[in-house]
């Protein structure tokens, strides 16, 4: 796993490099992998975030297409091509723009397998990017994964390390269901150990990123990086944290979560998205349903505030979930004894 230490090691890559390598390797491995999105071809500079750089030069403009600013047409084209046997990877530049093709994703990509009685299926991957902290304000920072987790037929994936990013993106591309792959724009230059070429990470399985016995910290994406740092720090105080990185938010790997919390009896659930009606609520609900009576303290949630992402740094930081809040919640669950 990536820890600050890892960043120092020589053999590391950034998230951006990991996303890019996964695309290159997937297109090399399988001619049915194609990709489309705004500005993604090299003629346009290889994408606003350079993740797709080199693809059009290497694989040609037929398989790597820069599109008009037409998100409905982008996702629709991916769906249609997938029905004809391709494995399209569509880029939606930023997650707030995914509000535009919601009909294509929810009413079609997620449902066609079921509605056709299994005659067709939609093996597409939608790559998108988001995350607060960069000062881009209310329409360029939202984490909306909870919407898609609530839609049967969709798979939602959020990596927390470059190596996971590579393996999970390959996992999405070669998965036979529509996958939403969320890239964090704030940590994209952060580094981690290099993944094994071609090695996919299975979807639907959570990863125990660090074993521990006192408190389970459960989440996905950026906050997992904070949790790993915290776990290291608290270990010094003799507090043993188990970090469960969901990797796939939906379908949710309930077994791994329950195994961890059954052991620790205490859990803190964390995500960047706003707290209310976010994915954390589902995790908390399942834990208390299945482990009621075994919990030594209430399951706590750490998340961002229930407001629009503000522009001013001081407010944006106040909006964001805080590593300090994860630590405080961990300590709170440790203090608390079941009050009966």
């Amino acid at each position: 796993m990536s820890t600050p230490a890892a960043a120092a090691k020589p053999e590391v890559i950034t998230f951006t490099e990991a996303f890019s390598r996964a695309l290159h390797d997937a297109m090399e491995m399988d001619p049915s992998v194609i990709t489309l999105g705004e500005d993604i071809a090299d003629e346009e500079g290889g994408g606003i975030f350079k993740v797709t750089k080199g693809l059009s030069t290497k694989f040609g403009g037929a398989r790597v297409r820069t599109t008009p600013i037409s998100e409905q047409a982008i996702v629709g084209a991916a769906i249609g091509a997938s029905l004809a046997g391709m494995r399209p990877v569509a880029e939606i530049m930023l997650m707030n723009f995914i509000t535009v093709p919601m009909d294509q994703i929810v009413n079609h990509a997620a449902k066609l397998r079921f509605m056709s009685g299994g005659q067709t299926h939609v093996p597409i991957t939608i790559r998108t990017r988001t995350g607060a902290g960069a000062g881009t304000g209310g329409q360029h920072s939202d984490m909306l994964e909870a919407w898609f987790a609530h839609v049967a037929g969709m798979k939602v994936v959020v990596p927390s390390t470059p190596a996971d990013a590579y393996g999970l993106l390959l996992g999405c591309i070669f998965d036979d269901d529509p996958c939403l792959f969320i890239e964090d724009q704030l940590t994209r230059t952060q580094t981690g150990p290099v993944p094994v070429k071609g090695q996919r990470i299975a979807l639907g399985k959570a990863h125990v990123a660090r074993e521990g016995k006192d408190v389970s910290v459960i989440g996905y994406g950026r906050p997992i990086r904070d949790a790993m740092v915290l776990a290291e720090k608290l270990a010094g105080e003799g507090i043993s944290i188990e970090v469960v990185d969901l990797r796939t938010v939906s379908p949710l790997d309930t077994d791994t979560i329950m195994k961890s919390v059954a052991k620790t009896g205490r859990a803190v659930v964390v995500h960047e998205a706003p707290r209310s009606f976010g994915c954390g609520a589902e995790i908390v609900a399942r834990i208390q349903e299945q482990l009621f009576g075994q919990l030594k303290a209430p399951v706590l949630r750490v998340a961002s505030r229930d407001v629009t992402v503000p522009f001013a740094k001081v407010l944006e930081q106040e909006y964001l979930y805080k590593a300090s809040a994860i630590e405080a919640s961990i300590r709170k669950t440790l203090e608390q004894r079941a009050s009966r």
């Binding site: 084209a77 004809a84 009413n107 009685g117």
Partner: protein, 330 residues
Amino acid sequence: MSVNDSFTPATRLAIYRTARLINLIDERFRSLLRSGRLAAVYYSPRGQEILAAAMGVHLKSSDYLVTTYRGIHDQLAKGIPLRQLFAEYYAKATGACKGKGGPMHITHPASGVMVTTGIVGSGLPIANGLAWASQLKKDGRVTLVTFGDGASNIGAFHESLNMASLWKLPVIFLCQNNLYGESSKYEKTTAVDNISERAASYNMVGVTVDGNDPEAMWKASGAAVARARAGEGPTLIEAKTFRFMGHYFGDPGAYIPKEEYDAHMARDPMPLCRAALLSSGAATEADLAAYDEEVNAQIEDALQFAADSPFPDVEEIDRDVYGVVKGAAA
């Protein structure tokens, strides 16, 4: 077919036969609905049989179709087998979609029926993707996507035609302009005299044709299919027609002025096509009667098949949600 091919009596007969199949099945479905022996939301294609048939004769089963809730005429013209189609209407396990999709989501890849959507305009972006795949595979397939006049006002229409033109996709946008979207008149919702004029916004070939005229519709369709197969790009065809049975089965259609309705009824394309066929000598009264019997026999067979088939097992609910593992349910 080349655009210069002439329209023969034999072609008219072929079109009539498909149109009549649609016509007889639609009549039967509506009588079953009236008597309560069939229970489903039904969007009758009555009046739009000829245009679907005239396009259909140009397509192979390997070509792709993307249609809508009002799509039974397109599906039949594409050659979907009656048994699976009927069984799906009856929500049976033997239906094309195992009874899980229903009439609004008919799918049958073997006959090229790839998507039937209940969302207005949503088929167009998907059609582009099917056509893109054909372009990449060079498989020579054509993708036909059908939609209504009302659908030409939704954003997905615009995005799709622009992309199809830029990428020279082998796709045909067939707008079936029946002059109404649900209960709204064309003029009240569509700020252009002919929908085909919108093709100019995308440097695309656009034609308006009388969809109820077998020859005109056959020529326009043939030209579009030829253009797509030749890799010359997409076409927007606006087929003018009329919706005789309202929006959905049971729609009183009070919003349609009687004179307007009667004027269209007086030009019902089915009897007109039949008359022209007889006068052309391509078929006799006896031939057509025999054909009706043949079709009615197929209908009986399919209805019997549907009736004899079981409803899906309750276990079906957990299948086809995800490919490999069952998904999000706790």
